[in-house]
Amino acid sequence: MGGLVYFSSGSGNTARFVERLGLPATRLPLKGNADVPELAEPFVLICPTYADGAGRSAVAKPVIRFLNVEANRSLLCGVIASGNRNFGQTFAMAGQVIARKCNVPLLYRFELAGTETDIARVHDGLQTFWGSRCLTPA
């Protein structure tokens, strides 16, 4: 199975989701001046959404900094986005932005810290996803 990378802000919702998922995962640093991790194996990114009403700035800056590193970007295989449906059209928009910019599939979307169903779907979905693809990057 490939790796898992996630970002979680002070609300901790994504961190709680990943914890319940029970899979090893790398957390991106919160602070802008921290070193950007460099990944060594293919991974899926779990990322919350921060868009304003017009959909601007949906992706958190530490996630952008991480994906700006070409070596990281080339290992990205898919994105899972979280958000809140109360934000209407911009719900989980970070997933759409990353999927389009990096040309990877949007694997799943969930709200806040996710439900039991979300955990089960992502857990099983990731297994199927990694099983169905060659882990060496194209």
Partner: protein, 325 residues
């Protein structure tokens, strides 16, 4: 003669270039960019649609909106100001002034709906109804007890998040229901702007709650968690009766309750707590979910196994400068 009891310390001038918590600026920017006024929404386009509702449906709608007005009034004049003395940073205090003012905008916007669509006598009757409605008054009292100046700062935040992220939803359900049937769609647009604001308020106050909570010893943390679950139980009890009273005649009560459970769980998540209601109790009518976030389900995702997994999304209005590729 100086009266030391009435001497107020001169505050420090706020410096937004020295932040203790980056999230304060982040939220300030979100809130100010999202600023809106009811005049922006063409409510008069709903006049015809309004006239097609039955008299009972009209009465229900106005009553629901006066109930929402009451909650916004409380949050504007008591709730957000009550959180200000507890602010940990000057920037947090400034954000709370924005939250307080936007609650006034929300409260004001229901009156815009009324003046555009309704007769004065109908509206006056509904305001009388809300002042006398036992359930509405009971939930307001429960929240106001916690906003008391002597209350624990964290209990105030819990009450505030429950108001912002839970108590509004018995009311928000109705405009989403009308919208899903192509009724009052402009009013629904206005409500969605309110929902968006409340989501940020609930997130931010919940975030500040978590920062304060993590500094407390385990025993106090456990006590506050017990308090939070106790309060949401009590509030839910009232909400359930309020919902039955309002929605039984339309046969919508069970549908509304699923929406309440779903939102109660989200309110708890804003505070960093686990969900209370099981998922079976939170299966919200898909038409209501679609009305809440219209268009957001056009792109299907890969794990759900339908549609294209590659997103061809609409162009995002403005691309963030930080991207290097």
């Amino acid at each position: 003669m100086k009266d030391i009891h009435h001497t107020r310390a001169v505050p420090r001038a706020i410096n937004w270039n020295r932040l203790q918590d980056d999230n304060d600026l982040e939220i300030w920017n979100r809130l100010t960019v999202n600023f809106w006024l009811p005049e922006k929404v063409p409510l008069s386009n709903d006049i015809q649609s309004w006239s097609q509702l039955t008299e009972d449906e009209q009465t229900l709608t106005i009553r629901v909106f006066t109930g929402l007005t009451l909650l916004d009034t409380i949050q504007n004049t008591v709730g957000a100001p009550a959180l200000m003395p507890d602010a940990q940073t000057p920037h947090e205090e400034a954000v709370l002034t924005n939250i307080a003012f936007m609650e006034a905008v929300h409260a004001r916007s229901y009156s815009s709906v009324f003046s555009t669509l309704c007769q004065t006598s109908q509206v006056d009757e509904a305001f009388r109804w809300s002042a006398e409605n036992e359930h509405l008054q009971a939930k307001s009292r429960l929240i106001l007890e916690e906003y008391d100046a002597t209350s624990n700062p964290l209990r105030k935040k819990i009450a505030s998040v429950f108001l912002e992220s839970f108590l509004f939803y018995s009311g928000f359900y109705l405009p989403m229901h009308w919208s899903s049937r192509a009724r009052l769609t402009n009013t629904a647009d206005l409500i969605r702007l309110i929902i968006r604001d409340e989501a940020i308020h609930g997130y931010y106050i919940g975030y500040k709650f978590q920062r304060s909570l993590e500094r407390l010893p385990e025993a106090e943390r456990a006590e506050l968690k017990d308090f939070a679950f106790g309060l949401i139980f009590d509030l839910y009890d009232i909400e359930a009766r309020y919902t039955e009273q309002l929605y039984d005649p339309l046969g919508l009560t069970e549908d509304v309750k699923a929406f309440l459970h779903y939102n109660a769980n989200k309110a708890l998540q804003n505070l960093g707590f686990e969900a209370l209601f099981p998922e079976e109790a939170c299966r919200v009518n898909p038409a209501i979910m679609a009305a809440l976030s219209p268009g957001s389900d056009e792109n299907h995702d890969f794990f759900s196994g339908s549609g294209s997994s590659y997103v061809i999304g609409k162009t995002v209005a403005t691309e963030d400068d930080d991207w290097d590729f």
